[in-house]
């Protein structure tokens, strides 16, 4: 058992996967000798060699498409896109190929690939390095979209993603890459995909979130507890497919729901969560669903970034609003 940061847990999972399955290969920009710009692959080329840990040319469409080809031909590629802001040229391969190769060939060819990318804001990064557009990917049938929110979940979910027989986009909340340490047992135990995690039980309100916003959400939950409001906190973890059962069960219990995400509000994944509740949990609602989300504007450069990111304060306000509703 070791105390690892989230990025160290990612590295541990990658190392474990390379170790246990010779079909696992890693590639992407700077994943070799540099160990990835966030060091997620640090030391791996030294241990597993250039064949299995490869720097690619600067070509994201190729990275994704090559992963599809290698996966269909029996490998387990784990490809990296350096920042989510550069994932867009890879989307064609995700939508038109990765997500549907199994369907198109009625199972003859499959696509057990993982595409990893750090995502999210709040680290004063340059332009295009801070966005959260996971809902674009969560719309695509046949994909899985997974986001860890702690070192242990990063380890277990990434292993699960790599072992999964279908394509997974694995988005890593870079704001908390090093924010906290957690005991992680590097014993190869995966966590289940397609299941949300109940991080905190509560009876008054359900807070649904994922990724780095789990931190602010838990912080808000603590603050609320101090005021006598018991918040239940759900980390979705797998954004696609969505574990609606866990959400609905919680809302059935609490009657109130506040959804928290960094991504722009409109057509963000929070909309899907709210829609599920409006369709299937309406009768349990004691107050309108609320979303605390990024504004529907371009993520500002660092000087104003702090004013863009939703913080615990906004979550608390939304919950108080929901509690006050009558």
């Amino acid at each position: 058992m070791a105390e690892l940061t989230l990025v160290e847990a990612v590295r541990a999972a990658l190392g474990r996967a390379l170790e246990e399955d010779p079909k696992v290969i890693l590639f992407g920009e700077d994943v070799g000798i540099d160990g990835g710009v966030f060091r997620a692959t640090d030391g791996l080329v030294q241990r597993y060699g250039f064949d299995r840990v490869r720097d690619t040319p600067l070509s994201e469409a190729l990275i994704a498409g090559m992963a599809v080809g290698a996966a269909a031909h029996g490998m387990r590629p784990v490809a990296e896109v350096q920042f989510m802001g550069f994932i867009y040229p890879a989307i064609d391969q995700l939508v038109n190929h990765a997500s549907r190769l199994r369907t198109r060939t009625r199972g003859r060819l499959t696509c057990p690939m993982v595409l990893r990318a750090p995502y999210g804001g709040g680290i004063h990064a340059p332009e295009h390095h801070s966005e959260s557009t996971e809902s674009m990917l969560a719309h695509i049938p046949g994909l899985r979209v997974v986001v860890p929110s702690s070192p242990a979940r990063a380890y277990g979910l990434l292993l699960a993603a790599i072992r999964d027989p279908d394509p997974v986009v694995f988005l890593e909340p870079k704001r908390i890459y090093r924010a906290l340490r957690e005991d992680v047992n590097d014993d190869g135990t995966a966590l289940p995909l397609d299941q949300a995690f109940l991080l905190r039980e509560g009876s008054d309100v359900t807070l649904v979130t994922w990724g780095a916003m789990v931190v602010e959400t838990l912080e808000a939950a603590s603050a609320l507890a101090g005021r006598g409001i018991q918040a239940e906190v759900i980390d979705l973890a797998t954004l696609k497919p969505l574990d609606t059962a866990t959400i609905l069960a919680s809302v059935a219990k609490t009657g109130r729901c506040v959804i928290v995400h960094e991504a722009a509000m409109t057509a963000g994944l929070g909309a899907e969560v709210a829609a599920q509740i409006a369709e299937r949990g309406l009768t349990s609602l004691l107050a309108p669903v609320r979303r605390v989300a990024g504004y529907d504007t371009v993520m500002p450069l660092p000087r104003l970034e702090g004013r863009y990111m939703p913080g615990a304060g906004r979550i608390v306000l939304a919950v108080e609003d929901a509690m006050a509703f009558a």
Binding site: M66, V68, H73, Q93, N96, R106, R108
Partner: protein, 354 residues
Amino acid sequence: MRKHMASFEIDCTAYLNADGAPLGDLPDFAGDTETVVALYRAMVRTRAFDTKAIALQRTGRLGTYASCLGQEAIGVGAASAMEPGDVLLPSFREHAAQLRRGVTPVESLLYWGGDERGSDFAGPRNDFPVCIPVASQFPHAAGVALAMSLNREKAVAVAIGGDGSTSKGEFYEALNLVGLWTLPAVFVINNNQWAISVRRREQSAAKTLAQKAIAAGMPGEQADGNDVIAVRDAVSRALARAREGAGGTLIECLSYRLGDHTTADDARRYREDEEVKAHWKEEPIARLRAWLVAEHGWSKTDEESLLRGAADEMDAAAEAYLATEPEQAASMFDHLYETLPGDLTTQRAEVSDG
């Protein structure tokens, strides 16, 4: 001061002229009657398939279909040079290559008839299905080639795309990687001179498409795409190089799209019949036939029985295709993931009832 840094050359392989007369020495395999007759048979069979597919489409019994009329030598030449363990990654127009690789006419008709099972072909199990998004098969080929080389398979990934596909970023990105990592991948370009209504010369100012390989630091060459001997020869050489570990090749095959872009297209909107007529004089089947008659004793009886056989085969295939029941509607969920996630079982049930 200008220093000279590098020079590059582009060649074109051709063996038979438009009348089927040899332009010089032929490659060894051309002396083997069985081999060359097999090439001829494969081209004729492809054309029979094409004819049948168009007929089915015109009578409302097939979906939009992309004819390969006049380009049979490319797919046949390339596929006949390949080994079973190689992997083909075809664009939507390469029926010639797919049929030669062992995809059955019934399977192909099923696909073009709008049934996914057509891509679950029994034959070349590792071959890719038809690729519709132009050029997106080239990165796949790079990935397959990477897998092959890591597995020490001594196999080669062969992707085929059109002249239009050489304008897409993914083509260059993949080519660059094949050059860089000396991957066992061969990119064959069916330059049929048209991308729907856009002429080859409106696609790129490059004098040849083969020279695009120079950008990737790898070999590029042209072959006469109406000459199946030239195509097979060029592809064979490239495959041998790739199998030896010497890396990939870009091969531009010069041909002409004698038909419409697809059955949904009307090429008379943008090109003159005269132009098409002129190109009929260059088409690959008559050319090889003339040479077979002159050099390999190909007879009228041989020809007739071949044509009859091919037509019969395609009639039977059409019948089998038309007799295939559609899948259950719920099948649209059955291969989405290996195991259908919880919520989707509800949707699956709904579509079954609906």
